[in-house]
Each structure stands twice: as structure tokens, then as C-alpha cells.
């Protein structure tokens, strides 16, 4: 799980001022997080890059509207989540892909853990991909990206109670699918 880090002081001001160096720093710092959420939600690396690029371009266009009430990272996760959910809701995509097959073409990172570890990781990816979208985004933001309940509620524009409920159900679903790997 990733560590949540605060925004560097003065960084948002530099972005608002149109500093091209600041924008490049932003992309460099958050590229893997944004891409990671997109690829776990969409299950397709090319589609995930398309969405991730769109996230940063939207930030570039509308950073002047960012009021700084939430962390910059929360704003990025909010845009990423919305774009992913919109893409998943599109009829064209629903027709093209079945949810259970979603992560089949995502290359797993080589962690050198052996055959059994790879099998568990594959099963876990498939279990996450099979979750309903509104549960999947919550578990990705919480257990993979390390956001707090409040940050998730802000990013998804949900009540904290709804976040807790969806997270709990998502974890129960995953536990049921991973029973055979649990001692």
C-alpha cells in the first residue's frame, strides 16, 4: 500500500501560476498512482494510459479552479475515479469487455516470489476485477493507494458511512474468492 504524502509547500501556487516545471513535477510524482488506479479499474494498460493522460490534461486546464480545500492528490484521485467510472459505464465498453476478464491482459509485476506467489497474485487481481465497480474503486483507493476513509469520501463524493459499508462488502467478497489461499 502506498504512503499518503502531503503536498509540498507552494506547489499548488506554482501550478496555478502556469509554471511548466511545476506541471512536469506533478506528472512525474503522480504518474504511477494515477495510472495504477486506472489500470486496476479498467484492466487494460492502453486504456489506462489514455485515461491517465486525460487526468493530467484536465488538471493542467483547470488548476485555476482548484481551491485547495482538499489535498492535491485527493483531487487527482477524484478526477481519475470519475473518468474511470464514466468509461466503465459507457455502453461501448460494457459490450466489449466482460468484468471477469478485465485484468487478464494486465502484466503482473515480477516480484520474484515463485509460482505460488504468482498464482495468489493472479487470483487476487482477478478477484478485484470481478468486484462491482463501486466497491472496486473503494478497495483500490483504500487498500492499494492508502487513502483514508475521509479522503475516499471526498474523492468519490460519498458519505463516510457509505465508504465503510462498500469497503467492508468488497473485502468480504475478496475473502470469499481467496479462501483456498488462506491458511
Amino acid at each position: 500500500m502506498r504512503e499518503s504524502v502531503p503536498d509540498p509547500p507552494g506547489f499548488v501556487q506554482r501550478l496555478r501560476a502556469g509554471d511548466p516545471g511545476a506541471f512536469e513535477e506533478l506528472v512525474r510524482a503522480y504518474q504511477h498512482r494515477v495510472f495504477g488506479v486506472a489500470v486496476r479499474m479498467l484492466g487494460n494498460a492502453a486504456e489506462a494510459e489514455e485515461i491517465a493522460q486525460e487526468v493530467f490534461l484536465r488538471v493542467h486546464r483547470s488548476v485555476g479552479e482548484f481551491r485547495g480545500e482538499a489535498k492535491l492528490s485527493t483531487w487527482l484521485y477524484a478526477i481519475t475515479s470519475r473518468l474511470c467510472l464514466n468509461r466503465l459505464a459507457s455502453a461501448e465498453r460494457r459490450h466489449r469487455r466482460a468484468g471477469a476478464e478485465a485484468l487478464a491482459d494486465v502484466p503482473a509485476s515480477d516480484t520474484g516470489g515463485g509460482l505460488e506467489h504468482d498464482e495468489v497474485e493472479t487470483a487476487l487481481r482477478q478477484a478485484i476485477a470481478a468486484l462491482p465497480e463501486e466497491r472496486r474503486i473503494v478497495v483500490v483507493l483504500r487498500d492499494v493507494e492508502g487513502l483514508s476513509y475521509d479522503e475516499i469520501a471526498t474523492a468519490l463524493n460519498l458519505e463516510p458511512g457509505t465508504v465503510r459499508s462498500r469497503l467492508h462488502r468488497a473485502r468480504l467478497d475478496l475473502k470469499a474468492k481467496l479462501e483456498r489461499f488462506l491458511p
Partner: protein, 301 residues
């Protein structure tokens, strides 16, 4: 409660209650343990990495295009979005206007067609009043004077249903207004045409307008003489002496036909003069003649 427990999000009271329950419940202890392991597996997933060159691609897309490219896009992109049919219509319309403006004959023809055949002085136009036998429904309140453009005629201000009912009576009136008060747009080219035309006496211009309008002559008659062809030449001299003009003069078998115009105030003297050329038989009422009298004379033996 398991989720909150795994995330250490339980308050102290709930945490104590859960711990107390777990001490005596092996099933719940086992379930919580498996739940915790599941969450640990998810949290242990290796982070995804964006593909190589991602930053460069995003920064390149965010960079504004060079100003010539922006200019070209701004100028031409909206035009390329126009449907082809609309572009064709605009092209044809523009060509028609261009040809009309470059062809004085077309403009002169249009001008003459619009010219009133008889009315020389502008007549006062009364505002339209619906006929008494036509029931006029309650009309919406008329717009205030300030809201009505100054060029709007009383007819235009009338409610739509009234305009429809009175359209037959109004049609000539509207045409008359359009002649009397040409818009600034079409008045300028018309003035230009007038300036290009060679100067001619007022009587001749009046005669041309009178003859260009369809309709019978105001006076027609027969002039009997020994030599109709020679008499036609003498007749043309008389016409010119009395301020008129000959519109047409042609042989018609043994006879000769002359169409001419003379001013109304000179017509009686003109008639007396042509009576000296031969035996003049005419049917005319001097009191009802127009300002420019169109005369058709058949010269016969």
C-alpha cells in the same frame, strides 16, 4: 466491524467490546484472522508503474501549439465543420449577388419593374384599419413606442392575425411603401445606376417610364393624309416641338403606326397642330388624362 478493526478505526469502547467477544469466540477469532490476511494480501500488491515515456507524452500534449498552428486552426477549423450543402448555398448566393451588382442591365430592369406606372408623387399612406365587419380578437398589448424600431410601419405593428385577415387590402399598400421608402441598402446602388445613365430631358424619362408599363394608350386615333410615311416624319417634328417624344414608329402595311408621349398641358395644342397635318379623329377626355399622355396614332390614306 471487522473492517474498522483491521484499519484500527474503532473507538476505544467498540475495540474493548470486540476484544472481549473474541476471547470467548473461536469462530469470530478465525474469521477476523482470515479477514485480516485478505486485506494484507491486497495491500501487498506491488504498485503499478506507468509506461516509459508517459511524462514526456503528457507534457507534450499539455504544451500549447505554436501560434501559426493555432491561427490556422482558428481560421479554418470552423469552416471545415460547415456542411458542404451550406457552403454550396452560400457560394451560389454570393455569385448571384456578384453578377447582379456587376450587370447594370439587370439592375435597371429591376428598377423599372419596381417603378410605379402612374403614381409620380409619393402618396400619404394611412395606417391600416381593419374592416368593420371583420371581428378582431383581443390582441396582445402593442409594444411600446420605444420598443418598436423607427422604420416599422403601422402594418408591421399590427397583431399577426389582423395582418393575415387584411392582407388582401394591404398588399398594394405595402408595395407602394417599399417604393417610396427604399432601404438604405438598395438605395445606394440604385443611385449609382442613375448617375451612370446619360442625362436626358425630364419628359423623355417620364415617357420611357410611361411606355415601359403595360396597358393601352391614353389616346388613340387615326390621322388620314395623302402620304402617311412623310406624314410620320412631320408628326415626329410636331411631337418634339411640344416637348414630347416618339416611342415607336413603324410601317404597318399601307399605313404607319406611331406611338408617342406628350405632356398633358401641351396635349390640346398638340392635337390642334396634328389636325393641320391631316384629318384627325381621336377619342380622348382631356380632363382624365395623366400627366404624361401616351398617344397611339395610325396614319392612313
Amino acid at each position: 466491524m471487522f473492517s474498522a478493526a483491521v484499519d484500527d478505526a474503532l473507538d476505544a469502547g467498540k475495540r474493548s467490546a470486540l476484544d472481549a467477544h473474541l476471547v470467548g469466540c473461536a469462530d469470530c477469532r478465525r474469521e477476523l484472522d482470515r479477514f485480516r490476511q485478505t486485506v494484507a494480501l491486497v495491500q501487498a500488491l506491488p504498485p503499478e508503474r506507468a509506461p516509459a515515456g508517459f511524462v514526456d507524452r503528457v507534457v507534450a500534449r499539455a504544451r500549447p501549439a505554436p501560434w501559426p498552428a493555432r491561427l490556422v486552426r482558428g481560421l479554418f477549423v470552423p469552416w471545415t465543420k460547415l456542411p458542404l450543402e451550406a457552403a454550396a448555398i452560400l457560394l451560389v448566393g454570393g455569385l448571384a449577388v456578384w453578377v447582379f451588382q456587376r450587370t447594370p442591365e439587370q439592375q435597371q430592369s429591376a428598377h423599372l419593374e419596381q417603378a410605379p406606372p402612374r403614381v409620380e408623387a409619393p402618396a400619404h399612406v394611412e395606417p391600416f384599419v381593419p374592416p368593420a365587419d371583420v371581428p378582431v380578437p383581443a390582441a396582445p398589448a402593442p409594444p411600446s413606442a420605444a420598443a418598436v424600431p423607427p422604420e416599422t410601419t403601422p402594418i408591421e405593428r399590427a397583431p399577426a392575425d389582423v395582418r393575415e385577415r387584411g392582407s388582401e387590402a394591404q398588399a398594394p399598400r405595402v408595395r407602394q411603401e417599399s417604393r417610396e421608402a427604399p432601404s438604405a441598402d438598395n438605395q445606394a446602388p440604385r443611385d449609382a445606376i442613375e448617375k451612370r445613365k446619360p442625362e436626358s430631358p425630364p419628359q423623355a424619362r417620364s415617357a420611357a417610364r410611361a411606355l415601359s408599363a403595360p396597358g393601352p394608350a391614353d389616346v388613340s386615333g387615326r390621322l388620314t393624309m395623302d402620304d402617311p410615311r412623310g406624314g410620320a416624319t412631320a408628326l415626329e417634328d410636331v411631337v418634339r416641338r411640344f416637348g414630347g417624344s416618339v416611342a415607336a414608329s413603324r410601317a404597318d402595311g399601307d399605313a404607319h403606326l406611331v406611338e408617342l408621349t406628350v405632356p398633358r398641358d401641351r396635349y390640346p395644342d398638340f392635337a390642334r397642330e396634328i389636325a393641320r397635318l391631316g384629318r384627325w379623329q381621336a377619342e380622348a377626355d382631356a380632363a382624365s388624362l395623366p400627366e404624361t399622355v401616351r398617344v397611339r396614332i395610325r396614319l392612313t390614306r
